[in-house]
């Protein structure tokens, strides 16, 4: 289990603006071990999707990856020319979006769209591609796969469309699947089914990187979790550990902001304030403006991502000390 499907080292994405350069992704390092599901959580605008785009090599101008490296199965891919990267996309690394409604071409039948993915990366005839499409539709549990191939996206429900997206993304058996908010637009029953599908995908050898703000999704399927805040990773740990003993005040705040059905949970807490403007980040810890336990040090110096326990890293001066609550 030592193999890493994806390894990101010190990835930084810059967007030059009139008022200065902002870094939506700042010195992010993460890894996805083979055969695992890893999650990234964080508020909107914390850089989760930007990280995913950088990995895919699909940053939109003027955003640019300025530092760091991304390697897929030990092979550095950031330095590859665009043509080589394109060959990787779909074949080795793939992605699904949160909006299954708009991620499919409205005027092309869904079967065709999946066939396109197959024929781009595998040399096979039209008939073989068709057969494979039906097969993959069956694998992602689309009912009546033969008939659904001839449907246009608008004739399918949201859940079915997301399944088609997943089918499209996994049909070439990529080594890594990035799922950017895969269930946000779906209702809970469909969500559960899609998550099951992702788990099954992992079992067949595809590693999955899930990006979500939904802690329930993360808790359910992820083996390891990264928490991002204002472009940086602030905490990382195994799922069980992080849910048991969150160490960073931001992580704790996140967990407390989830509505619970348990009795006596009282008023729903929120984290005061908003994600800081990336142009005017505080000199010290970027969470210091909203942190209740913020001390003198926190305002001046950015804490390092330090290991408090094996496999558990936290970017906070107060972490590891008991009684910080």
């Amino acid at each position: 289990m030592n193999e890493k499907t994806l390894e990101i080292r010190g990835l930084t994405v810059c967007i030059p603006t009139e008022k200065g350069v902002i870094r939506p992704v700042n010195d992010v390092s993460l890894e996805v071990p083979a055969g695992s599901i890893v999650g990234i959580v964080g508020e909107s605008g914390c850089g989760k999707s930007m990280t995913a785009r950088a990995v895919m090599g699909l940053l939109r101008y003027p955003a640019k990856a300025t530092a760091g490296s991304v390697s897929l199965c030990g092979r550095a891919i950031t330095s590859l020319p665009e043509k080589e990267r394109r060959k990787l996309r779909g074949a080795e690394i793939s992605m699904i979006f949160q909006e299954p409604m708009t991620s499919l071409n409205p005027v092309v039948k869904v079967g065709r769209q999946v066939e396109e993915a197959i024929r781009l990366h595998m040399s096979c005839s039209r008939e073989e591609a068709k057969a494979r499409t039906v097969e993959i539709f069956r694998e992602v549990e689309i009912p009546e796969p033969e008939n659904r191939c001839g449907c246009y996206p608008h004739q399918l429900s949201g859940g079915l469309r997301q399944r088609v997206m997943i089918a499209m993304a996994m049909v070439c058996k990529p080594k890594l699947l990035i799922a950017d908010e895969p269930t946000t637009a779906l209702d809970v029953t469909v969500e559960a089914q899609i998550l099951k599908l992702l788990e099954r995908l992992r079992d067949t050898g595809t590693s999955v990187l899930i990006i979500s703000h939904n802690l329930g999704v993360i808790a359910k399927v992820c083996d390891y979790v990264y928490v991002m805040y204002a472009g940086r990773i602030v905490e990382q740990a195994e799922t069980n550990r992080i849910f048991d003993r969150p160490a960073h005040p931001y992580t704790r705040g996140l967990f407390r902001s989830v509505a619970s059905l348990r009795e006596g949970s009282g008023t729903l807490e929120t984290i005061p304030g908003v994600v800081p403007n990336l142009l005017r980040l505080p000199a010290g810890c970027s969470f210091s403006l909203r942190c209740r336990q913020c001390g003198e040090n926190c305002r001046r110096i950015m804490p390092d991502l330090a290991e408090t326990e094996p496999g558990h890293k936290v970017r906070c001066f107060l972490a590891g000390k008991e009684g910080t609550e």
Partner: protein
């Protein structure tokens, strides 16, 4: 009789089966569905076919020649011998209408199609590639649009000389810029849509995205532009002919007929009326057919 009826029922059930969700739809099935759902389109289609046939078979349909003058019967009112009357040279208007259809139909369709293809290709390229490609293509388009189209057409025609091929070329060069602008705008919108992103994610190349994902989504717009371009081409040709740059008398085109008939509007209104009605009919027919095609070709417009 009974057998044909049985055959019909079978056809109907076949159609019903085929129109169900998921059935692979061939072009023929689509056309049949259009025939079932949209009578106007069928009538238009028939009208267009009849006009084309009439144009092709003109020598068989009329006893007179296109250029046969009969100075004793100048400007004769419609009669049994001349169903649409005669013009200022005593030529049979119906005959000239039929022969003129050859030129006018060709002039209407061919340049509209050519400018559509040229404009669509350049528009998508400009919109999707952006940068220098975009700047060059769109500046050329801007220059084209900056001149009054008639003036531009005259200049090009003057430079190239008369003849029907040159008319095609001229009308294409005048009309492509409009198409390119519209298609570019549409491409810019589609370029950032998630399905294009998704296509990039599975590793589709730029050229293929333009061809397979963006162009088909522009199709409805292109069809509308096409049907609008046909009458515009017919009318521009008539103006060119009028100025002595297009089709020259004694050859006939509908636009030319209207222009010569204008002088006799009070004493011989049929000279203008017949070709005018013909232009109107063909333009309407293409419009309705375009709408009908749009309904069946664009899956989002499908009535379920």
């Amino acid at each position: 009789m009974l057998r044909t009826k049985k055959k019909q029922t079978k056809q109907v059930t076949d159609l019903l089966l085929q129109s169900q969700i998921g059935e692979e739809e061939s072009f023929r099935v689509l056309m049949r569905r259009m025939a079932r759902e949209n009578k106007t389109a069928v009538v238009s289609f028939v009208l267009i076919v009849v006009m084309i046939l009439a144009a092709v078979l003109a020598p068989l349909l009329t006893p007179y020649g296109e250029k046969d003058m009969d100075l004793l019967h100048r400007l004769a009112a419609p009669s049994a011998e001349h169903p649409l009357g005669t013009d200022e040279g005593g030529r049979d208007v119906l005959t000239r209408l039929l022969y003129g259809a050859r030129v006018s139909l060709l002039i209407g369709v061919a340049p509209a199609l050519l400018s559509l293809i040229l404009g669509a290709v350049l528009g998508v390229a400009a919109g999707y590639k952006g940068g220098l490609t975009d700047a060059v293509i769109m500046r050329v388009a801007d220059v084209t649009l900056a001149f009054p189209s008639m003036l531009l057409a005259m200049v090009i025609m003057y430079a190239l000389g008369g003849g029907i091929l040159n008319v095609f070329l001229t009308l294409t060069l005048v009309n492509w810029a409009n198409v390119a602008r519209v298609v570019r705008a549409q491409t810019l919108k589609l370029k950032n849509s998630e399905f294009v992103e998704a296509a990039r994610i599975i590793g589709v190349s730029r050229d293929r995205i333009m061809r397979r994902h963006i162009l088909p989504n522009c199709l409805p717009t292109l069809l509308v532009l096409f049907t609008l371009n046909i009458p515009a081409s017919i009318l521009t040709e008539s103006s060119l002919s009028f100025l002595g740059l297009g089709i020259q008398p004694p050859n006939a085109s509908w636009g030319l007929m209207i222009n010569t008939g204008r002088q006799y509007l009070y004493n011989a209104p049929w000279l203008c009326f017949a070709p005018g009605a013909a232009i109107m009919l063909i333009v309407l027919a293409f419009n309705f057919l375009g709408n009908g095609l749009l309904d069946v070709l664009d899956p989002r417009m499908k009535k379920q």
